[in-house]
């Protein structure tokens, strides 16, 4: 490291200063100093994790092979008392989508403990020959035997490892057995990695990551400046007229999946991620029925009612079943999507229900409980389902393909009209499902187009807050506030940039808290926390560098896969056929049903706004040079 780098390292706040390198094949760990210039170039957290994946992923490695890498990191704000500065990111090649994607989670204390133990990132390569977990205790990183934990649910494993004061990232049996819809859980509460993050950990025989007894702590480079900025922010939150309402209702306010009356029957305690003044998690108690009196902690009370929306008999069954999925480490959305597909196959006689040990019925608690276990433990046809939609289609052939729902990168879209439902407005979230490298996710696609139609007059305020440059605002709304010219594709670029800024710094992106942050304020806070003067332009540029590098990694991986499987069509960013055939979406403003050209135009706008080729989505030489990515290996 140069002398100026050394000095920068010494003065750097927010960052902990170390990266852990774990080789699970060899069973070794080492630490290396964080290179401060690289850390700043990629902001930290999510952004820096992208750079580390670029450096350590074996090109062309299968997602479940030792050549895949897992990078886990937390940004410079994590561990401070900035509101909602809890976010931890995992980056890896995900098996469901066969792409390198991000997985983010909050949690009660993992992120704060991780950072105050002196680590910014952990790089995990290879695969252990035996069940293990990683541990940081008194700031020392080590690999520990997990044979007594293997097979245990998320809750029990977390309790054993975390004790009273520790934090964990844990997988359940579904991840151990490499189900593509398996996730990891932060502190047994926050979900991480729909798309098989759990499976990647399982493929490495890695049960968990536990942190306790931190020594180093997290320091601030410019305390006076930090205190002024933070106090201003906290005052705004305290004076927010709906603060109490949000604190009281939590997720019900955003997703009223149940009435307040029903919520009052079950509510027990509200819970929050570390540092969050507007916590939206819950501990609830089942009010009646067979499971009356059971307590469940959840990252989202609306999640607990998801099975009821699928036809389960009552709330108690729904809540109990979702808690079972959480404990197995299965993603409820993908689970029900794939089980509905499997049920359609049995209804049409393509899969013989009579030969299955349990008939598939997505409205039945007993049926779904059995199937959840069979998938998590890869038993019988459960083993095929565990490999996802494409595996079922591969096994059962063209007749199954005809019944398959829309798929994007091998997974079911998060947002699309249900059968019989009207066409939905096409906003940044909807297009974001096609362009997110990890598959059909929406968290990185925030804008005023979320959910309800908004007048264009509200857009300028949000665009400014999200740090969208003025000249870009003119491209997003070329006719200004009048007319029907909203360019959803162009906006999406900035939604993703905003998400990358938040994730790289470590701030939660959920709407109810990120509303208090602006890009300008984040640039000032970043400067105060790290001690490195960072303008808004620089913040945007560094975030763009990280997202563009993620795109480059995925282009490389797709090309290598095409070479290996000559003739295989590599699905990158494609519009699902049902969207086009069935006119599932309509223009956000005009409500004109979208045709293929409309989708392609939006996608082209998106690529163009990123500085990527309009047709192929490949970053142009000019863009790579501007971001300093032109000389990377």
């Amino acid at each position: 490291m140069s002398k100026s780098s050394e000095q920068l390292s010494k003065d750097l706040g927010g960052f902990a200063g170390r990266i852990g390198i774990v080789d699970l094949s060899a069973g070794t760990v080492r630490t290396m100093p964080l290179d401060p210039e690289t850390a700043i170039d990629y902001l930290g957290g999510l952004g820096l994790a992208v750079k580390l994946v670029h450096d350590y992923l074996k090109p062309g490695a299968d997602s479940l092979s030792p050549g895949n890498v897992i990078v886990i990191g937390a940004g410079p704000m994590v561990g401070t008392d900035l509101p909602a500065s809890s976010r931890v990111f995992g980056l890896t090649k995900l098996p469901a989508s066969n792409s390198v994607g991000w997985a983010g989670g909050g949690g009660y204390r993992f992120g704060a403990l991780f950072k105050s133990s002196g680590f910014d990132q952990i790089v995990i390569t290879g695969a252990s020959h035996y069940p293990v977990y990683l541990e940081i205790d008194n700031d020392e990183l080590s690999i520990k035997d997990a044979s007594s934990l293997w097979g245990k649910g998320v809750k029990e494993a977390n309790q054993e490892l975390a004790g009273e004061d520790g934090g964990t990232i844990t997988i359940g049996p579904a991840g151990e057995n490499r189900a593509v819809m398996s996730m990891a859980f932060v502190d047994a509460i926050s979900t991480m990695g729909r798309g098989g993050f759990g499976a990647v950990m399982g493929s490495k025989n890695l049960k968990a990551f536990a942190v306790r007894n931190p020594c180093q702590g997290v320091k601030i480079a410019r305390p006076k400046e930090y205190r002024e900025l933070k106090n201003k922010l906290m005052k705004t939150i305290r004076e927010y007229p709906y603060l109490k309402d949000w604190q009281d209702k939590g997720q019900i306010k955003t997703f009223p999946a149940l009435t307040m009356e029903d919520y009052e029957k079950i509510r027990y305690r509200r819970l929050a991620c570390v540092s969050c003044p507007i916590g939206d998690k819950d501990s609830v108690r089942i009010a009646d029925g067979e499971f009356k009196g059971n307590y469940i902690s959840t990252t989202s009370v609306t999640n607990l009612f998801y099975a009821k929306t699928q036809g389960f008999k009552d709330h108690g069954e729904s809540m109990t079943f979702i808690a079972q999925l959480d404990d197995l480490g299965l993603d409820k959305f993908e689970f029900f999507s794939i089980m509905r597909f499997a049920m359609d196959l049995t209804d049409k006689g393509i899969l013989n229900n009579d030969l299955l040990p349990e008939p598939i019925d997505t409205t039945s608690f007993s049926s779904m409980s059995v199937w959840a276990e069979m998938i998590a433990h890869r038993q019988g046809f459960g083993a095929v389902i565990a490999d996802g939609f494409l595996a079922i289609i591969d096994e059962l052939g063209p007749e199954a393909l005809k019944l398959a729902p829309s798929l994007i990168k091998g997974m079911h879209p998060y947002i699309e009209p249900k059968p019989g439902q009207d066409a939905m407005r096409f906003g940044t979230m909807e297009l974001g499902q096609i362009t997110d490298p990890r598959g059909p996710h929406i968290a990185a696609s925030g804008s005023p187009t979320y959910f309800a139609k908004r007048p264009l007059s509200v857009f300028p305020k949000h665009m400014k807050r999200q740090g969208i440059p003025d000249e870009a605002q003119d491209r997003i709304m070329p006719d200004g506030l009048t007319g029907n010219s909203l360019k959803v594709g162009r906006y999406l670029k900035y939604s993703q940039t905003w998400f990358t800024i938040l994730g790289s710094l470590g701030i939660c992106a959920r709407a109810q808290i990120n509303r208090f942050y602006s890009a300008d304020a984040l640039a000032e806070l970043y400067s105060a926390v790290t001690g490195v003067d960072t303008s808004l332009d620089q913040l945007r540029k560094n975030a763009s560098r990280a997202w563009t590098l993620l795109r480059l990694i995925n282009i490389r991986e797709a090309e290598l896969r095409q070479e290996k499987e000559a003739g295989q069509k590599e699905v990158q960013n494609e519009i699902p056929e049902p969207w086009i055939k069935n006119f599932m979406f309509k223009d956000y403003q005009t409500e004109k049903p979208l045709e293929e050209d409309d989708y392609l135009r939006a996608l082209g706008d998106y690529y163009d706004e990123w500085g990527w080729d309009r047709e192929t989505g490949r970053p142009t030489e000019e863009t790579l040079k501007a971001l300093g990515l032109d000389n990377l290996d």
Partner: protein, 82 residues
């Protein structure tokens, strides 16, 4: 038991640990929740708020709680005797 004037309302606590963050920084100029003089523990059902012997009743935790789980009365007797 430390002499402090802080009244705890554990039923309102959500476990955000802002009090632990702010306490550790106030006394150590460094964020580390395990060095805080206020401790929140949650066993999945019960939330408990406790203080270590080092608590000096500065009230930084009270100021930073957004859920009204910590309130303050001033113990005038203690002040006069200090």
């Amino acid at each position: 038991m430390p002499l402090n004037s802080i009244i705890t309302h554990a039923e309102k606590c959500v476990g955000c640990l802002r009090c632990q963050l702010t306490c550790s920084y106030t006394h150590h100029q460094n964020f580390n929740i395990t060095k805080a003089r206020i401790r929140i523990s949650f066993d999945g059902l019960k939330m408990e708020i406790g203080f270590t012997e080092d608590c000096i009743d500065c009230g930084a935790c009270v100021k930073d709680c957004y859920y009204e789980a910590l309130t303050r009365e001033i113990d005038l007797t203690a002040e006069e005797g200090a």
